[in-house]
Symmetry: C2
């Protein structure tokens, strides 16, 4: 028997491998992978409203995954302790259990003050719940056969946590012997093991804890929730359009004779070089987003991609956003447009780090032309893009992208391996006759 | 007077600044920057043959820039000594003059042996001369008004060197009081200060040495050659199509049931982290190329971007290609397709490093399915893409992309600054009435 499995699954037991093979041939025979190619043009095709309140495949739970943030300063301590406990995000090795709590306790007062400075908490829950709800309304019209689409949010480090979302799903009638369909929709446009990977690992963990043995029963009708994942969408034309429109809005605030000379500084959260060198796909996908946005903007302005929010003494991917801004200011370039490119809602890294540190510092140095582009937040263009991405995914019949099933070359995480096995196995339930 | 100059030029003397301002307003008024956006679809539009042997704007010198390689093993010593003397490529700081010759002398015997192993020399001169000549034939038909297009090659470290190319240009009737038009066409699809930047710096140096004071005379009809640069083309649809076709050809050599499971390992030359952290644009542009190629391929296969050819003890961008291949082989993934993605012709890094080191090592470990995709070399799809890129450039009337005029945030190179000033000033000659 020739091996038809991706590398992550080559050590599956023989029976499971046979099942996966069987599934795999079904997939290649019956499903088109071309749905994974974002359409070239951004055209929102909304069919006439013919919503069937009980679509033949509905209801569908649409679960937005993100890191989250404390909604009040009182939640900062718990938020940080979860964050520094996550080896997928901050790899501290065997010292994670000791160093994590130490670092989070030490940082809590400072970070509390930062959240107080931006109004007492992160707006990310508000935006996530709004985006998910609005997207579901659009989806109900665009895909009546999978309606109703029910919005959920699962944060990695703040309420609502993954386990709370999962408990709500079960309480709402999904799973528990009744089956049902859920889509894990990462809200990070570019995939990193530190972000989307960590959220999917957490989802896999709670699936096993809360659906117990049922989750191992892959036979159709086993009664557990059928999951699929939208794992990346870095150059979706609607995303690109939403970024471009916000950038153009900021550019219009400069006098016309300075407009084309302003430097666009795209800023993404950095990664430790240990993660980059392990083979994480995030830096290249951020590069793809930036190039796509610049294409849409006609390459009129000069630009750079920079990386922010480095912490600790280890090596991180650069150039750093703060250095980039201060060096350009020193060179006399004081019209700089900062564009958060890897996160779609406002959070501490935009509202505090960019607005109250980087821009304030530049202003202190005399540069008055440094501005930040608004985050996508409630952008209708963005929310329509989310609906189109979800629609493409639902039509594809795929449990995730082929790319997601491939581990990083230097990955040693067993949890990552198990999570990928789980999503690959979900393909079987997806392709089984209803 | 408000400042209309990009940061690199803010310290220009007042008169030059006024001239640049004047030019700048002309540019924004009369020229469309949208020519810099690659057309979305790869369609070769070749007008009927109406070649005017003396096109109204011709002749045009088309100068292919690349690093080059020794055509015989006897040239290896000179090649390496030039390479290690180049601070743009290998930044050794104040010790460059001492360490460069030391390292190159020490490495010469080993590298000589590598060139002997691939047939006695690099084929890059053969391919570059072929590509340039074939492209010029196409261009003569596609752009009769700028014909005849005359092919030249300028290598950074091997014959024909930049100074030899420049001397040939002058001997052929360009410059020397007679004016004339030349295009510096980088053969690196993605821009790095280490590669394209170094070649352009060298071109600027020899322009000054060989055209003397004339090169400072920016008035129309001053008699020196008018230069423009095609500085990057990472996602041109023709380039993407050429890569995709070669990848598909390699995938067809696998049995059908293994084809979609093969992992595509894109491999680009790495950069020292000091260059990445300075703000070099290359990593993000390579990421854009990879994503564009995967879009064209329909994301059917899992893939990774890896980086090769690291030397010395300092930190370089990873993951390393050799590590990526050996780790996947260890994980049981033995069908791997290596794709050189940042160089268009064969060279020591493909013919020796990938073929005789990485693949041979994998085969030694028992992996028989590791293959390399053919380099673009003589691909007619690729050569047509070059012609389309050149045509777009000639029609744009731009001396270079706005992006090229922006220095890296942490750049301290005076040569870089002067080179950018030079290309910006060329805009004046380009837009002057003939």
């Amino acid at each position: 028997m020739s091996c038809r499995l991706p590398p992550a699954l080559n050590s599956l037991p023989r029976a499971a491998a046979r099942a996966a093979n069987h599934k795999s041939s079904k997939v290649s025979a019956g499903l088109s992978l071309s749905r994974w190619i974002p359409s070239r043009h951004y055209a929102a095709v909304v069919p006439p409203v013919t919503q069937d309140k009980s679509g033949s495949k509905g209801p569908t739970a649409m679960v937005f995954l993100n890191m989250g943030g404390p909604s009040t300063t009182g939640e900062v301590g718990d938020f940080l302790s979860r964050l520094f406990a996550d080896g997928d995000l901050i790899p501290l090795g065997r010292l994670q259990g000791y160093l994590g709590p130490l670092i989070s306790r030490r940082r809590t007062p400072k970070i509390k003050k930062q959240y107080a400075d931006i109004g007492g908490g992160s707006p990310i829950r508000k935006w996530s719940e709004y985006q998910a709800a609005e997207m579901c309304k659009l989806l109900d019209r665009m895909s009546p056969e999978t309606a109703p689409h029910k919005p959920y949010v699962a944060f990695r480090y703040a309420d609502p946590l993954t386990e709370d979302m999962y408990a709500k799903l079960l309480a709402d009638g999904f799973g528990n012997g009744k089956g049902g369909r859920a889509v894990a929709f990462t809200q990070y446009p570019q995939y990193s093991c530190s972000t989307t990977g960590s959220s999917l690992n957490e989802l896999w963990k709670w699936r096993h804890r809360l659906e117990g043995k049922k989750s191992d029963d892959m036979s159709p009708g086993g009664g557990s929730i059928t999951w699929s994942a939208i794992d990346r969408w870095p150059v979706h034309p609607g995303l690109v359009e939403a970024f471009a429109q916000n950038i153009e809005a900021t550019l219009r605030t400069y006098p016309e004779d300075r407009r084309d000379k302003a430097v666009l500084v795209f800023s993404a959260h950095s990664l430790p070089m240990s993660v980059v060198n392990r083979g994480d796909t995030y830096p290249a996908e951020v590069g793809a987003t930036v190039y796509a946005v610049m294409q849409r903007l006609g390459f009129k302005n000069p630009y750079r991609l920079a990386w922010q929010s480095q912490v600790g003494p280890s090596a991180w991917l650069g150039p750093q956003t703060s250095m980039t801004v201060s060096e350009y200011v020193k060179k006399g370039q004081t019209d700089l447009v900062l564009i958060p490119i890897a996160f779609t809602s406002d959070h501490i890294e935009t509202l505090f780090e960019l607005d109250k540190e980087v821009i304030a510092e530049a202003e202190h140095e005399g540069a008055k032309g440094v501005k930040r582009v608004e985050s996508l937040n409630g952008s209708p263009v963005f929310i329509r893009a989310l609906a189109e991405i979800a629609l493409d995914h639902l039509k594809s019949g795929l449990s995730c992208s082929p790319q997601m099933l491939l581990r990083c070359p230097a990955c040693t995480s067993e949890r990552c391996l198990e999570q990928k096995r789980f999503f690959q196995a979900q393909q079987q339930q997806l392709t089984a006759p209803a």
